[in-house]
Amino acid sequence: MHFGLSEDQRMLRDSVARSLSDNCPLDHVRECAEGEPVFSDKTMSALGELGLPGMMVPEEHGGLGMSLLDAAVVAEQLGYAAAPVPFLATNVLAALALTHAGSREQQADWLPRIARGEPRISVAIAETVEARDGAVVAAHGGGLSGTSLFALDFRGADAFLVADGAGRLHLVPTDAAGLETVALTTIDRTRSVGEVHLQGVAAEPLMADGGVAAARLRCAGRIILAADSLGAGEAMIEKAIDYAGQREQFGRVIGSFQAVKHMCAEMAARHEPCRALVWYAAHAFDAAPDEARLAACHAKSHTGEVHRFVARTSTEVHGGMGFTDLLGLHYWFKRIGFDRQVLGGPEAVRAEAATLQGWTRAA
């Protein structure tokens, strides 16, 4: 029995951490995020050397066939570094979807390329959680029509993986006729989302599965977002403690004031159990699919709440400096804001958790 990361996972964590600390320090995050934001090619290529693009691709397709917990370990480090890389959509969600619901042809076509880090696939499944602004995608006679918002890792996508209203997934190449896209911008300039408009677009459906694949994707996406939030929260707590240990006011470091100490203690006390929660959810995704959806809901909603508190409190500990752009603390603040809202805010996700357990009266 072992609850925690394996030796391999700890090595993975450390090597990703090292790579990010070398290739993606704050200055580099800032370079990528300012002006017209871009993803960091340098960081992606460094992560590519670790084989991360193919981590979720089965070995027979040239990947590493790793688990979602492995991906969560990576995601946590990406959050910790606020790394501007499109890992979630292509390397986790699309790889999972194709592996579990792709046809042989689709698998053969895409998976080896994903493993090589070539294509970028943006994932548009927001409407399986909530339809905002009336967005909906319908499949009819082999064609897809409608709108999907908040397609993840949107910028530079070669294809979109789109869920229709029934939860079935479709691959739409970027150059498909009838496809139009609009970039959206969020508070978090290290990520990229966009909207996808489809008018009778001929798409390749993944295998019909009654929406199971889309539900699994949502679940995986939430776990990865929770892991990202975990890493970003960890970074914010560390930064608060460091700052409080250096900043002097009234002739003492502010970290010696009980109020500041208790703010930090409260952050740590709420944050620490999130780690085990995220690990368990990621583990359950592969090992206990029955529990995975609920565990993913818990991880997503709970980190959403805890890290909103952490983001705010760390900023307060930093005082005026935390509010400026100077220390770059806001990159993590916003990363946490993004993780909280995307694929369902805490209320929406808790409502889903309640339904899953039959807490809701049958209508």
Binding site: R132, T186, R189, D325
Partner: protein, 415 residues
């Protein structure tokens, strides 16, 4: 309890309404408090002063309207302008902080020279108090001035100088008495932002905008008579204006308006076929915030009423900054949650609501929770001044401070 203002005030309110109806179209659109007033704003300001709707109680010899203080009339003016959605008079730091300070502690010459053009919007001021190393512990400021040939020669750095880019003048705290204890070594100087040796750099915040600046002084020379109060009294001069700043924050009308905007947002935002306000969970949070906004509104009326009786306000007033900043932040947080993924759109994104104001406010209000006395400092003040709890026990002086301050045996203030 009598919430009627009485016939005289009802007549006054009617007068304000008629003024707004007749002249409201002349008000400048989208007034930005941090910017230099536009020509329209300057004209509007002059009209308001003429009618006594701003600078109301400032003596007419200094360019004000010269009315007797009447809190109710001031309140009526604020209410009617807010209700009509028409901007009131200029509300920059020169008017809200420097003018009251000069009125209280300036020389006659300073009053005559600076107040009128400031009121008219001809002179824009910025505030030079905080420094990178002196925030909560403002008295630790290090920007220093030596006297040389009838001039102060200033070196150092200020931060949070919000209108420094647009400002003509600065009111500024500098350390002039290097042997004096911490609070007793500071002077309050006023000088032109055109003085050689001043460099202003925009200070971008988490909102992505540069609402503030950093201002650097290198051998900035200022005539020794450009001081308000005596040398070494700057701390006390500034504290008079800090009080004025605090009363600027926590406007109950603003909270009500924000809450109403949130109600409107939640009626309009849709999740599938439902409106956001149809979510019982979000609606419950909305109702809870509404109750708190109501409490702050009536608390404000209580403070107003107390001032009418000459009561300084006590606890009801002491808690306003802490509670209203937090409440404003919570209102923005609920708005973001009600919008779901739409709530994180920003930077002029398609589908962004209210030009990103909810997100910007969410972040800016966190800045307000921190600024002008962090929430922690506010709680210290409430506990110590409001509840009479003991101050933090005094510490042995750290070595660094001992050099200048200990010999004097003065009590060191702690947070």
């Amino acid at each position: 309890m009598d919430l009627e203002y009485g016939a005289e005030y009802d007549a006054f309110r009617e007068e304000v309404r008629q003024f707004l109806e007749a002249h409201g179209h002349r008000a400048p659109a989208g007034q930005d408090r941090a910017a230099r007033p536009s020509a329209d704003a300057v004209k509007w300001q002059a009209l308001l002063i003429e009618h006594g709707y701003t600078a109301r109680t400032i003596p007419s010899e200094y360019g004000g309207y010269g009315a007797e203080p009447d809190i109710l009339k001031s309140r009526i003016i604020a209410e009617e302008f807010s209700r009509a959605g028409i901007p009131g008079g200029l509300a920059n730091q020169g008017i809200s902080m420097l003018v009251p300070t000069l009125l209280e502690l300036g020389t006659e010459e300073q009053k005559r020279r600076w107040i009128e053009p400031t009121l008219k919007g001809e002179i824009v001021w910025c505030q030079g108090y905080s420094e990178p190393g002196a925030g909560s512990d403002l008295a630790a400021l290090k920007t220093s001035a030596r006297v040389e040939g009838g001039e102060f020669v200033i070196n150092g750095q200020k931060i949070w100088t919000s209108t420094a880019k647009q400002a003509d003048m600065i009111f500024c705290l500098v350390r002039t008495e290097h042997e004096a204890p911490k609070h007793g070594g500071i002077s309050y100087l006023i000088f032109s932002m055109d003085t050689p040796g001043i460099e202003v750099r925009p200070l971008k915040t988490m909102t992505g905008h540069a609402e503030f600046n950093e201002t650097f002084f290198t051998e900035v020379r200022v005539p020794v008579d450009q001081i308000v109060g005596e040398r070494g009294q700057g701390w006390f001069v500034a504290n008079a204006t800090l009080g004025h700043e605090r009363s600027m924050l926590g406007d109950p009308d603003a909270l009500e308006n924000r809450l109403q905007a949130l109600v409107n947002l939640m009626r309009e935002e849709r999740v599938g076929k439902d409106r956001a306000i149809d979510s019982p969970v979000l609606r419950d949070r909305l109702a809870a915030l509404q109750a708190e906004v109501a409490a702050m509104k009536y608390n404000g009326m209580r403070i107003l009423s107390n001032s009418l009786r000459g009561d300084p306000g006590g606890m009801a007033k002491l808690i306003v900054k802490l509670q209203s900043c937090e409440l404003a932040h919570q209102i923005s947080a609920l708005a973001i949650d009600a919008m779901g993924e739409i709530g994180i759109l920003y930077h002029g994104s398609p589908r962004e609501r209210a030009r990103g104001a909810w997100q910007r406010n969410y972040m800016f209000q966190l800045g307000l929770i921190i600024g002008g006395g962090t929430a922690q400092i506010q709680r210290n003040i409430i506990a110590e001044r409001g509840l009479g709890m003991p101050r933090e026990p005094r510490l042995p002086k750290p070595a660094a401070v001992e050099r200048s301050a200990v010999a004097d045996g003065r009590k060191q203030e702690t947070a």
